[in-house]
């Protein structure tokens, strides 16, 4: 509610005793505190959820709301409290009713003009918020009045309820309906006050207020009531005007962004004073009043009042200083905590306003005190003075051309807060004669001195400088302040009595305030309209106005060029364009705000273009006209982008100059990495610190850029191990055939539209791109294409390059694109990505002294803009090649040599992938199935970073157990060779030579796996598995094995052995490195194309002729390739099986069951299978305690069937104790073979132990009954004597003993000697 009601909080207490007063005080303290809290909470919530512009708009309208509700409140609430209280006390209900209705009618009648006024304003301005605000203000004053009525009637609980309902309802409505607009907030405010009114009316029931009757209305009562509240009303009015003055001013100038920033800081510095208000009004005020009206001796009372105030005064000083210091030194943290980082721009204002916390905290204390002392004119004077000062300073500074209105107003508030408080304190101290005025003046005078200094400097220097100057000054002041507190010296100021202050103040206020509303800058809005792309005409000898329609006809640009030299007369506008010494203001149609300012100027041979964009979110680049020429005020006059060119934007040969140096200071995307590695919108600011340096070069002046390098100077740690941004990015096109610039807005580097950061194929958009709606430069896109051009390459390095040096760059180093087909359509068909990690630069515990190179080599089978194949490689060889630029060089393989360099190297590990499901386009490489695959634990790059570095012992095969549908991939975890590929005549596919395995995910439901059983480097087993939708638990399986002279096939219903001569490969190749190789490979692949389905293994088998052995109703398992083309498998013959006669010896005698089929020495045999027969042996050598011991377990399988994926476990126990698992290993134990496996065991004690191995296979324990007893010896050197021996080995035991005895003795002796024997007085120095 409003201020005047709270100021009178002490008056609601019953005069009949301290208990009632205490209860009321406690309750209302709680209510007031809760209200303050809720109001603050709603304020924070709104600010955090609205964009600054909307928040600024809301600030303006709520300020209006406050002023209006106060002006039209007429102080009637206080009257209601006082008069109703009086009538209620004497129980004169007739007069009470008469007074209530008289005041209510008065209240309602004055709301009518308010509603009319606000409605008219809405109609005139077209902004409905004016009316909504008027309505909200009306409801609020009614609700407030009702609160006053309940207070007067001593209805404390009803008062409390009514007070709290509005803020609670407001918050609830906000949470429920806030839709990021100021309108929704005003509506919520309105509704909450409406609810308050409703509740107030309902609560009148049973309070002694009778039914409304017109006869109760009495003008006489109103006349009696009004003067009582007059002075409080004026105080509140001045206070509110003072608080809202600057915000209304800014809002009336449509500077909502600035209003938002000022309001944020202003709110923050008032949190403490607001928080103290309940304390002052409900605790201090009643006590003071009691003291004042008590009948004690006058001097005693004075003393008591002074003491009471002094206690509060000190508390407020300490709190105020603390909060001031917090805000002055950590403004960003405070703002971010309360309002999120989007309001960080308000930090400089907060720094300046910080000391006002102290003054604004003291002012209510003194005001309350003076009111209690019945000196109400003094607060009026103080508030008048404050209002006056804000007006004079704000307006004066603005008219003098202050660069930053917000900073200026902050200073105005600081000074006025000081002055008002100082005035109050002066009067108070003069009256009380018992306090230390110097305390306050010491603070205030010093602060004013600093503030005045800043004020004098303000028009000339930037806000940042002020803050830098201000912060240490404030810190010094605070120190001085603390010193003054400790000093407690009574400075004897002898201020002259100011008798005419009231008159002077009132006159000045009346004279100056209106001026602020007519001081808005005049901005020219008249622009010539024309059609076609651009048209325009000179408006004066130095002003040219243009109207340009964008090429896409979607935007209309209105450009005003202020030339610093006279324009050539009588020539076309094209010839009048001045790119050397002029300032351009660019607007878009239907919006008078300047969206971008371009300042062209020249110094010697250097040509500059400074670009200014919006910095405060209001979509406007602020400027003023100074001596007829615009002067940019936005961002305190700092440019966001500066483009520098030697000898102008065009070379003498008429070609565009692409030798540019660009500096960026602001939140825009200035590099590729800044778009996603960090949030540049939050991190980067226009603060005088360079965020990006961009250098573009065209050494031959060809008119096309050949290379560029960008230095990311964002405020992030420079150490690459801490922060992963690309510190340097290089794009290069050594052929110099970038597409010509298009889409420029007159100046070739400035774009009409905002597109992508990366250049597209065969197009070069102008790189400086602007969001024309917001008036914000959003990015400086590529001058040289990184990806979209064959022949180009880029380097994104975590290490920063230094100009003039040979640099070790890392990460993508380089990433190159090729057109191996020679089609030359501007699209690449081959890409090579080289990812380099330098020694000791892997993260965390992966640091090793070797470089790690990761490489992806992708190419298309045809030049159709799709990639087909990719070899991915990794290795640890250092790079010994250099790419040189005129300004610097880097250690990297030059792109022209890169294909040959890759295929000419041996690599440690490799993957190969074919995109089976086309089309597949990316701007880079094939992202699936590279060596960078994560393992099942989610660890990225486990193969290159952990396995080939030797950091891990287990090959990361699980990283290659799954592939995306539509891709076919293979891997080799230990290649140690060039990346050869071979073409298989069986499946007619390219495969990786020496692959460990592979997989083709056909459609997500079925897959083909590839295995090289005999480890000769070529796939010899194809296995198709499909989970059918009908019964997904039983997979459909087909298998084809190539071993020795046979192809062995099964499909679930039959097993077929075909004796045929099949080659392992048709041809072997490396990835193509030039046009010839690319064409030859394509030709061969085309020639070998087949028509069978990839899952049709029977068709694959039928490519080859030979003698067959067929078993129907049969299947096989455990296929094993042996040496010299031999093989072996288990054949399962089911009931009703059928086989050809005499194909194998003894085949006619076969019965259903399992058989071992072996092909050995050219002969195929079949014998009945026997299950695994196992025998086991353990090493029984003694082990040692506190050591890791090896236990060898040897197992023989004398049966006819293999054991695959059995689980071998080692269990241990002490005698008579339970078994404990040590560890387990997965084993495969072929039939007729043996293995020996080591287990590591650390015994927990010495003595006898029982070791029991167990083998789990197919849910059955095959071993487990064999145990061995072994002895664990004690640890080496385990006796306590040995410790002593070693300990005394290097020192002399005698020395130790002597010293210890001497130390103890000496210590004891000193005590013995000097305790109670020789203690003399402290008599010598």
């Amino acid at each position: 509610m409003t201020v005047q009601s709270k100021n009178q909080g002490g008056q609601i207490a019953k005069p009949d005793g301290k208990t009632a007063l205490a209860k009321t005080t406690i309750l209302m303290s709680f209510v007031s505190a809760l209200m303050v809290f809720l109001n603050a909470l709603s304020g924070f919530y709104v600010a955090r959820n609205l964009i600054p512009y909307e928040y600024g708009r809301l600030t303006y309208f709520t300020s209006l709301f406050l002023v209006v509700s106060l002006v039209f409140g007429f102080g009637l609430t206080v009257s209601a409290i006082q008069h109703l209280s009086r009538y209620n006390a004497v129980k004169n209900y007739s007069e009470l009713n008469r007074m209530f209705y008289s005041l209510l009618l008065m209240r309602l009648s004055v709301l009518i003009p308010l509603l009319l006024l606000s409605g008219c304003l809405s109609l005139i301005t077209g902004d409905e918020l004016y009316f909504l605000v008027g309505l909200a203000a009306s409801l609020s004053v009614v609700a407030d009045f009702l609160c006053g009525v309940f207070q007067g009637l001593q209805q404390i609980w009803r008062t409390a309820l009514l007070y709290l309902l509005q803020p609670i309802a407001f918050i609830a409505l906000l949470v429920a309906g806030l839709n990021h607009s100021s309108k929704s907030v005003i509506l919520a405010l309105e509704l909450s006050f409406g609810l308050g009114c409703l509740l107030g009316i309902l609560l009148l029931w049973g309070t002694g207020i009778a039914r409304p009757l017109l006869k109760f209305f009495s003008l006489l009562h109103i006349k009696d009531a009004l003067p009582i509240s007059g002075q409080s009303y004026i105080i509140s009015l001045f206070q509110t005007l003072y608080y809202t003055y600057a915000l209304v001013w800014l809002g009336s100038l449509n500077q909502y962004g600035e209003a938002a920033l000022l309001n944020i800081a202003w709110t923050l510095v008032r949190i403490l004073p607001l928080g103290l208000t309940p304390l002052l009004n409900t605790v201090l005020f009643p006590r003071l009043r009691n003291l004042v009206i008590s009948t004690d001796d006058l001097n005693d009372r004075k003393k008591a009042v002074s003491n009471l105030v002094a206690i509060y005064f000190k508390g407020v000083v300490v709190l105020g200083i603390s909060v001031s210091a917090l805000m002055a030194f950590f403004p960003e943290i405070v703002i971010e905590f309360f309002y999120t980082s989007k309001y960080l721009a308000t930090a400089p204002i907060l720094v300046i306003l910080a000391p006002t916390v102290l003054f604004l905290g003291l002012e209510p204390l003194l005001t309350v005190t003076l009111i209690a002392l019945e000196k109400t004119m003094l607060p009026i004077m103080a508030n008048l003075l404050r209002l006056l000062l804000v007006g004079v300073i704000g307006l004066g500074g603005y008219m003098l051309g202050s660069l930053d209105l917000n900073l200026l107003l902050a200073l105005a508030y600081l000074l006025s807060a000081f002055a008002g408080t100082a005035l109050l304190a002066f009067y108070y101290f003069r009256m009380s004669c018992a306090f230390h005025p110097g305390l306050l003046f010491g603070f205030a005078a010093s602060s004013m001195g600093i503030a005045a200094t800043c004020r004098l400097l303000l028009p000339e220097i930037s806000g940042d400088f002020i803050v830098r100057l201000y912060r240490p000054a404030v810190s010094g002041l605070l120190m001085v302040g603390i010193a003054v507190v400790f000093l407690r010296q009574d400075f004897k100021f002898n201020f002259p009595r100011i008798t005419s202050a009231k008159k002077i103040g009132a006159l000045a206020l009346l004279g100056l305030l209106p001026l602020t509303f007519i001081a808005a800058p005049t901005q020219s809005t008249a622009l010539a309209q024309s059609d076609l792309n651009c048209s325009g005409a000179a408006q004066s000898p130095r002003i040219l106005k243009l109207d340009c329609l964008s090429e896409s006809a979607t935007a209309n640009f209105l450009i005003t060029m202020y030339s610093r030299i006279d324009l050539p007369p009588a020539v076309s506008w094209e010839k009048q364009l001045n790119y050397e010494d002029s300032l351009w203001l660019i607007r878009v149609a239907n919006d008078e705000r300047v969206k971008l300012a371009l300042d062209f100027h020249r110094e010697g041979k250097m040509q500059y273009a400074d670009l200014y964009d919006d910095g405060d979110g209001d979509g406007n680049v602020r400027y003023d006209l100074y001596a007829g020429s615009p002067r940019i005020l936005e961002n305190q006059g700092r440019w966001t982008v500066r483009v520098t060119a030697q000898e102008g934007w065009w070379k003498p040969n008429g070609k565009l100059n692409f030798n540019l140096d660009i500096l960026v200071d602001g939140s825009l995307r200035g590099s590729y990495g800044s778009g996603f590695i960090y949030d540049y919108k939050k991190l980067l600011k226009n603060d005088g610190q360079i965020d990006f340096e961009i250098h573009v070069r065209d050494p031959n002046n060809s008119g096309f850029p050949k290379y560029e390098w960008r230095q990311d100077r964002s405020p992030l740690p420079e150490d690459p191990s801490i922060s992963g941004q690309y510190r340097t990015e290089i794009n290069a096109n050594f052929e110099g055939n970038e597409a010509p610039i298009s889409g420029a807005l007159l100046w070739p580097y400035l774009s009409q539209i905002a597109g992508n950061y990366n250049k597209g194929y065969n197009v070069s958009a102008s790189p400086i791109q602007v969001d024309w709606e917001k008036g914000k430069i959003i990015q400086i896109s590529e001058f040289v294409a990184s990806r979209a051009k064959p022949g180009n390459f880029f380097v994104y390095s975590l290490n920063r390059i230094k100009e003039g040096e040979l640099n070790s760059t890392n990460f993508e180093n380089p990433f190159a694109f090729y057109d191996l087909s020679g089609v030359k359509d501007g699209w690449p068909d081959t890409a090579i990505r080289f990812e380099a990690a330098l020694p000791f630069q892997l993260p965390g515990d992966l640091s090793i002294p070797k470089p790690i190179n990761i490489l992806e080599y992708a190419w298309g089978k045809e030049h159709n803009h799709n990639l087909t194949y990719q070899v991915s490689l990794c290795g640890t060889k250092p790079i010994d090649q250099i790419i040189s630029f005129p300004e610097f060089s880097i250690k990297a393989v030059p792109p022209q040599k890169l294909p040959g360099w890759v295929t000419g190297q041996n690599w440690d590990a490799a993957t190969f992938v074919e995109v089976e499901k086309q089309p597949y386009w990316t701007s880079e490489i094939i992202y699936e199935w590279t060596v960078e695959q994560a393992d099942s634990k989610g660890r990225e790059k486990v193969l290159p970073w952990r396995y080939i570095t030797g950091l891990e012992n287990t090959p990361p095969a699980d990283a290659f157990s799954h592939i995306q549908a539509g891709f076919r991939g293979e891997y080799s975890l230990n290649l140690q060779a060039k990346p050869y590929l071979y073409f298989s005549p069986v499946d007619h596919k390219l495969h990786l030579l020496k692959a460990d395995g592979g997989i083709w995910n056909l459609d997500g439901q079925s897959e083909i796996s590839y295995t090289d059983l005999d480890h000769d480097g070529y796939t010899d087993m194809w296995r198709y598995t499909s989970l059918t939708p009908i019964d997904s638990t039983i997979p459909e399986i087909r298998q084809l094995n190539l071993a020795g002279d046979y192809l062995v096939y099964q499909d679930g219903s039959q097993v077929l052995l075909r004796k045929a001569q099949v080659k392992a490969f048709s041809f072997v190749t490396l990835p193509p490195t030039n046009q010839t190789e690319w064409e030859n490979l394509g030709k061969k692949l085309k020639e070998q194309q087949t028509s069978f389905q990839p899952t049709d293994f029977k068709a694959m088998l039928n490519q080859f002729e030979g003698q067959d052995i067929l078993f129907s109703h049969a299947s096989f398992s455990d296929f094993r390739s042996l040496k010299n083309g031999s093989f072996r498998f288990i054949l399962e013959l089911r009931e009703a099986f059928h086989s050809q006669d005499k194909a194998l010896p003894g085949i006619t005698d076969l019965k259903p069951g399992n058989y071992v089929v072996e092909y050995l020495d050219g002969t195929l045999r079949i014998t009945p299978s026997t299950p695994p027969v196992l025998s086991i042996a353990l090493s029984t050598q003694p082990k040692r305690y506190l050591e890791q011991n090896e236990v060898l377990i040897a197992i023989n399988n004398d049966g006819g069937e293999d054991i695959t994926e059995g689980q071998l476990e080692l269990w241990v126990s002490r005698p008579q104790e339970e078994l404990r698992l040590v560890s387990s290993q997965t084993i495969s134990l072929p039939a007729k073979s043996k293995i020996s496996l080591p287990f590591i065991w650390t015994p927990s004690s010495a003595g006898l132990w029982l070791l029991t191995p167990k083998l789990n296979y197919k849910n059955e324990v095959l071993l487990g009954h064999v145990s061995e007893q072994i002895t664990v010896l004690p640890e080496k050197e385990a006796s306590s004597d040995s410790i002593a021996q070693i300990l005394w080995a290097d020192t002399n035991l005698l020395f130790v003993l002597l010293c210890l005895v001497a130390i103890a003795t000496l210590g004891g002796l000193v005590f013995w000697k000097y305790w109670q024997t020789s203690g003399q007085a402290h008599d010598a120095e």
């Binding site: 950091l951 090896e1190 010293c1299 210590g1307 402290h1322 008599d1323």
Partner: protein, 528 residues
């Protein structure tokens, strides 16, 4: 009574002689302790802070810059490395010799400031002797004094600055006489800051707390120097300014630790409550001893003095504040206040510890609190006159002091028969590390169950010449290929009941009888 005492006659040679004699005895006592500290392990001792400062000093010598351009820079001050560099250049001593053999002996430098301060604080020669003696039976204090870090100087400077402060207060009535002490106090504080700004700031903060509490408490019955205490506030403020200037302007690296702390709370704690990290303070580690009884016995001195001091302090407070008795002297009131100031800082540190922002802050403050505890106890003992059995008391207390001195030095040296935290190494172990560093490069080498051998190498040799990383604690399995096996490690394995982290079947590549270097066999084609 110090304030009311009369000027002594100018010629009183026997008293002066007694003072010199007693003071010399105490110097001799501390020297004996220091000799034992060095001699116990034949100079082959090492601990973390000393090794870090050794490395920093070597880098300082190499670069000859206050803030070296390359290598490790000590972020908290410059004086220790400057002084050490000066001494090494002047004497030709190697850094290792200076750190391990000479610096422990310089602990005697603390005796004189302690003597001077306690002379003022206790008000009697007897009290001075007892307080100084008790101070050097405090293992926490002795440990930081003996090891080769900045603390051997900063602790002395604390004593000295307190002495100057008290003297300046005493001279309050003659401003001309107090000014030199004030100036000397500032010098001492600045020097303290220059050795370690965190320790300096922490000390100043304790003084600040004292100044703050002096206002309300002083009104309730303490007999304080009124004018001097007013000035005390300015002095503290000036010190705060000094700390601020040093941290943010004079020695820029000092801000390094602060700016990276995550919030204001942490920064404030780091600046005002913490002293530099001292992970090896023996009192802090209960499991560092073979059993709790041994730990309690070895810490007896600390607990006895601390509890006694607290009791005495409470008694004083009761007498002065509750019973409104007049304090014996202003200086005693000041000691009482100082104890309260440091105590509040201790409580704040404890709160910070509990809130997770600090890290054993209370333990780090212990030596500072000891400075005042012994003053209270020393003064009490000096004035205490038992009515009966005075001789029995005398014998008993002397014996107790002898025992405390005995157990303290055992604790300070981390006597391996009692401690699980060993701070010594053998020549053979150092020889094995030398060979390792000469033979292999860019490798991780596991050396021990803690930092024992890595800090030994750092203090004796400095940085690895071949970029090897000698480390302790848990084995970094993925990247470690070399492991050191020594007789002492085997003994520690037994003592700590920790398994030696060697897998079976390693390749023994070095053996000098006492120490062996093992190399793990490669398990994949990519391991060498």
């Amino acid at each position: 009574m110090m304030l009311n005492r009369q000027k002594p006659p100018r010629s009183n040679p026997p008293q002066v002689a007694t003072n010199y004699l007693v003071c010399s005895t105490l110097v001799g006592y501390v020297l004996l302790l220091a000799i034992y500290y060095v001699g116990r392990y034949g100079g082959n001792w090492a601990e973390l802070d000393s090794s870090v400062l050794s490395k920093i000093t070597r880098n300082f010598i190499e670069n000859r810059q206050l803030v070296p351009n390359s290598g490790e820079v000590y972020p908290n001050g410059y004086s220790y490395q400057s002084l050490t560099t000066f001494i090494t250049i002047l004497t030709g001593l190697a850094v290792a010799d200076l750190q391990q053999l000479v610096y422990p002996l310089t602990a005697i430098l603390a005796v004189l400031p302690a003597w001077l301060l306690y002379y003022e604080l206790t008000g009697s020669l007897k009290g001075t002797i007892l307080a100084t003696l008790l101070l050097f039976t405090q293992p926490e204090f002795l440990f930081v004094l003996f090891r080769s870090s900045h603390e051997k100087f900063t602790r002395s400077l604390m004593l000295l600055s307190l002495f100057f402060l008290v003297k300046s207060f005493e001279k309050q009535r003659h401003s001309g006489k107090s000014i030199p002490y004030v100036i000397l106090f500032y010098f001492a504080i600045y020097t303290l800051m220059s050795f370690n700004n965190l320790m300096g700031a922490s000390f100043i903060f304790a003084l600040f707390l004292t100044a703050v509490i002096a206002v309300p408490v002083g009104k309730r019955g303490l007999q304080l120097w009124h004018q001097a205490l007013l000035r005390f506030r300015y002095i503290v403020l000036t010190c705060l300014v000094l700390a601020y200037l040093f941290t943010f302007y004079i020695y820029p690296p000092a801000t390094h630790d602060l700016v990276f702390l995550r919030n204001i709370w942490d920064r404030a704690i780091a600046l005002f409550l913490s002293t530099p990290k001292e992970p090896d303070i023996p009192v802090s580690d209960l499991i560092g001893w073979i059993n709790p009884i041994v730990y309690l016995l070895l810490s007896l001195s600390t607990w006895l003095i601390t509890l006694a001091a607290f009791g005495i302090w409470l008694g004083m407070g009761w007498k002065w504040l509750v019973k409104q008795e007049k304090p014996d002297s202003s200086v005693l009131s000041f000691v009482w206040l100082l104890y309260l100031g440091f105590g509040i800082q201790g409580v704040l540190s404890w709160v910070a510890d509990k809130s997770g922002s600090g890290g054993h802050l209370v333990y780090r403050l212990f030596p500072s609190i000891s400075l005042l505890s012994v003053a209270l106890v020393g003064r009490f003992l000096a004035n205490w006159k038992p009515h009966n059995y005075i001789r029995v008391w005398k014998v008993g207390l002397a014996f107790a002091i002898a025992c405390l001195a005995f157990v303290s030095i055992l604790k300070v040296t981390n006597e391996p028969a009692l401690s699980n935290k060993w701070t010594f190494y053998s020549i053979s172990e150092l020889a094995a590390l030398d060979w390792t560093d000469k033979t292999i490069q860019y490798s991780q080498v596991w050396t021990d169950f803690d930092e024992r051998l890595s800090v030994a190498y750092a203090i004796a040799r400095g940085e690895s010449k071949n970029h090897n990383d000698f480390y302790g604690y848990e084995l970094r399995e993925t990247i470690t290929r070399y492991l050191l096996d020594t007789s002492l490690n085997r003994l520690r394995s037994k003592r700590l009941q920790k398994v030696m982290p060697f897998p079976p079947g390693t390749l023994l590549i070095y053996d000098n009888g006492e120490a062996q270097l093992h190399r793990l066999y490669p398990k994949t084609p990519f391991q060498d």
